[in-house]
């Protein structure tokens, strides 16, 4: 409604402005002392800034048609602010003509504000258009992020459904993954050779999901280690990660009824610096000669240094990481690699608990959805409807 109310006068002004232009141009050429004001801007609209904590209004305007204004090129706009429709107005900013909107912040939520926008040209200023009242307010929900919320909810519902189904005895097919099958064999091999197992949980912190996935795999490895009566060495980069690894390994010994065999010296801290840590783990590999090396979690440039040294010391190597750049190096050097999502799937595979497998099914349904969205999205983009793609640009 506000828009319409303002469209009529601005349209009239616009017509006047355009009809003035040839005359104005002529006048300026003839006698620059006669001041003709620049034409006004139009469509000054004030709105609350969406998805913000409050206190900000957005002012938009439309500049006069530049083609008709060759003689009086608009330089920019001045923006004035007042608490009353009739002023007094205070200049708050001058913007170049390329600016199409202005965000005015530090305002009081719930108060009415009026903006006057004037056009400037040749050092002169138009009399300006005053907006309707704008009232800033904060929002409780970021609507731009709605797509993510929908996905979170759908994903949770699917996962919970499958978990419940699985608890009820529903059996899922899961395809074999070589790297996961190799875990048990690798531990058996260590026992035969009488050598320890090295488990490197990477450089991530305990707040990184990949590291948390690494804890789960460690739990499984430690359990097998106890079963086979061998030894697992876990050098750490982060003290919190170390504390959790100790807990996980200790638990494996306790649940097998051999708590006295757990040696806290085997799960230890080295240093919180990437390459000194790498050098020390290299040293462990060459001196302890582990039969099997596990690299699970987040790895950066050290991936290849570790994997090559492990190869030299003759260990079987199993790696898993979600660091895209490092996967090629693990793939080239290690015997088995869990690539990206497989690292996360590994915990479900290894636990064999039905509820864990249930979430794998949910992940797969997620992929089906993604496949469908890609097909629909590309078709829509191809027929010129790019709005769909922007829906995923959640900011």
């Amino acid at each position: 409604m506000d828009r319409v109310k303002f469209l009529i006068p601005t349209f009239i002004l616009f017509i006047i402005a355009i009809s003035c232009v040839p005359a104005a141009a002529a006048d300026i050429v003839a006698d620059s002392a006669i001041a003709i004001l620049p034409p006004n801007v139009s469509d000054v609209i004030v709105s609350d800034k969406p998805n913000d904590p409050g206190g900000t209004l957005v002012v938009e305007w439309i500049l006069p048609d530049s083609a008709a204004l060759a003689a009086m090129p608009i330089k920019g706009v001045n923006i004035y602010l007042s608490g009353n429709h009739d002023g007094p107005f205070e200049l708050i900013t001058s913007l170049p003509k390329s600016a199409l909107h202005y965000e005015c912040s530090d305002l009081q939520d719930g108060e009415s504000y009026y903006f006057k926008v004037t056009a400037t040209a040749n050092g002169l200023e138009s009399d300006g258009i005053t907006s309707a009242a704008g009232i800033p307010s904060g929002q409780w929900f970021n609507t731009e992020r709605l797509p993510i919320l929908i996905v979170v909810i759908l994903f949770s519902i699917t996962a919970i459904t499958f978990i419940i189904k699985a608890r009820g005895g529903y059996d899922f097919y899961v395809r074999p993954i070589a790297g996961i099958k190799a875990v048990d064999e690798a531990i058996g091999r260590a026992t035969e050779m009488g050598r320890p197992i090295l488990y490197v949980p990477g450089l991530g912190s305990a707040a990184d999901v990949a590291t948390i996935a690494a804890f789960t795999i460690l739990a499984r490895v430690a359990k097998k280690v106890v079963e086979y009566n061998t030894r697992v060495i876990v050098p750490n980069y982060d003290p919190v990660v170390m504390a959790i690894c100790q807990e996980v390994v200790k638990e494996a010994y306790a649940s097998a009824g051999k708590p006295e065999l757990y040696d806290p010296k085997d799960v230890y801290f080295i240093t919180q610096d990437q390459f000194p840590y790498t050098a020390a783990v290299n040293g462990v590999m060459l001196r302890e000669k582990p039969a099997t090396n596990f690299y699970m979690g987040m790895f950066y440039a050290e991936s290849l240094v570790l994997a090559e040294t492990g190869f030299v010391s003759g260990s079987i190597q199993i790696a898993g990481t979600d660091q895209l750049v490092q996967i090629p190096f693990f793939v080239s050097v290690c015997d088995f690699v869990l690539m990206g999502e497989e690292l996360y799937a590994a915990s479900a595979y290894l636990s064999r608990e039905p509820q864990q497998l249930g979430t794998l099914k949910a992940q797969d349904l997620g992929k089906v959805t993604v496949v469908i969205l890609i097909i629909i999205g590309v078709i829509l983009s191809t027929i010129g409807m790019s709005g769909f793609a922007n829906w995923f640009n959640v900011g």
Partner: protein
């Protein structure tokens, strides 16, 4: 064990030695040439074919007229200097030689030192005056916010330049309000600021944008070439060397290129040998089935 099997199982230390030698050759050559042969120019001249994405950046700067403005954003830190400094130097050399005016900004914490280092040496070489031929506006954190603010007016995030002079008193900034008054932006980065320049810079204000990035990053940014969000990319030392070749100022990029080419050649030769040996052993095994091993 025949020759192929020996090659297949060659001690890794021979590979290490080859790489070590490959990388030492240019260095040793330089030492010998400088101190024994007393030569002036010790750079090994490697013929370089510029790739299309680098050529486009060069052509873009080349198409600018004297007095027009170019914006260069130096967003890397000293740890990636080796890869990125050569390309910055080459671009600045080209622009200064063409009397193009340059505005520098950095969105990296350690950037100011780098910019000062580059501008002070190159400006002297080209007789350029700070404030007239080039300006350094300084460093601001929060890249997205800074880029958006510069799109409105450079004076919003940078009321004064790095040296405390108000922008309005700099002759070079006369009539330069925001990106619209510039010909284009070249972003040199070793981190995620490139994403901000693509999304908030090119995406919002539509100016021509070129990237100079490290080799490891390059795989992720080629997609923006096909979608025309970038006009060109200079990837790593190789891109820098190509740029230097185009500009005609041989510098650190070309000097490093000699090491790179030899080392890459060694690795490629090893891969070829390894595959010849692999097929050799396979064939023999097939032919000598059941025979003595």
């Amino acid at each position: 064990m025949n020759i192929f099997e020996k090659i297949m199982k060659v001690d890794r230390r021979w590979v290490y030695l080859a790489i070590g030698l490959a990388v030492s050759i240019p260095a040793v050559y330089e030492l010998v040439a400088t101190y024994i042969l007393k030569k002036e120019n010790t750079t090994i001249n490697i013929p370089i074919t510029p790739s299309p994405e680098v050529k486009k950046v060069y052509d873009f700067v080349e198409s600018m007229k004297p007095g027009e403005h170019l914006f260069i954003c130096v967003d890397y830190d000293p740890s990636s200097m080796a890869e990125l400094n050569p390309m910055t130097t080459a671009i600045v050399n080209q622009a200064f030689a063409k009397d193009i005016k340059i505005i520098f900004v950095t969105l990296s914490q350690f950037g100011p030192g780098l910019v000062e280092q580059i501008t002070s040496s190159l400006a002297a070489a080209h007789n350029k005056v700070r404030g007239e031929d080039y300006a350094f506006l300084g460093y601001r954190p929060y890249p997205a916010i800074t880029i958006l603010a510069m799109g409105v007016d450079f004076r919003v995030p940078f009321p004064e330049d790095y040296y405390g002079t108000p922008l309005d008193s700099l002759p070079i900034m006369d009539g330069i309000k925001n990106f619209n008054n510039l010909k284009g932006v070249i972003e040199l980065t070793s981190g995620n600021t490139a994403d901000f320049w693509i999304t908030y810079g090119n995406g919002r204000y539509g100016f021509p944008l070129a990237l100079g990035i490290t080799g490891v990053m390059s795989a992720n940014y080629y997609q923006y070439l096909s979608s025309d969000q970038l006009l060109g990319i200079i990837p790593g030392v190789k891109g820098a060397a190509e740029y230097e070749e185009l500009v005609g100022f041989p510098g650190d990029g070309k000097a490093q290129m000699a090491y790179q080419v030899i080392a890459h050649a060694v690795i490629l030769v090893f891969i070829i040998i390894s595959n010849i040996a692999f097929f050799g052993t396979r064939k023999r095994k097939g032919g000598m089935e059941g025979g003595a091993q």
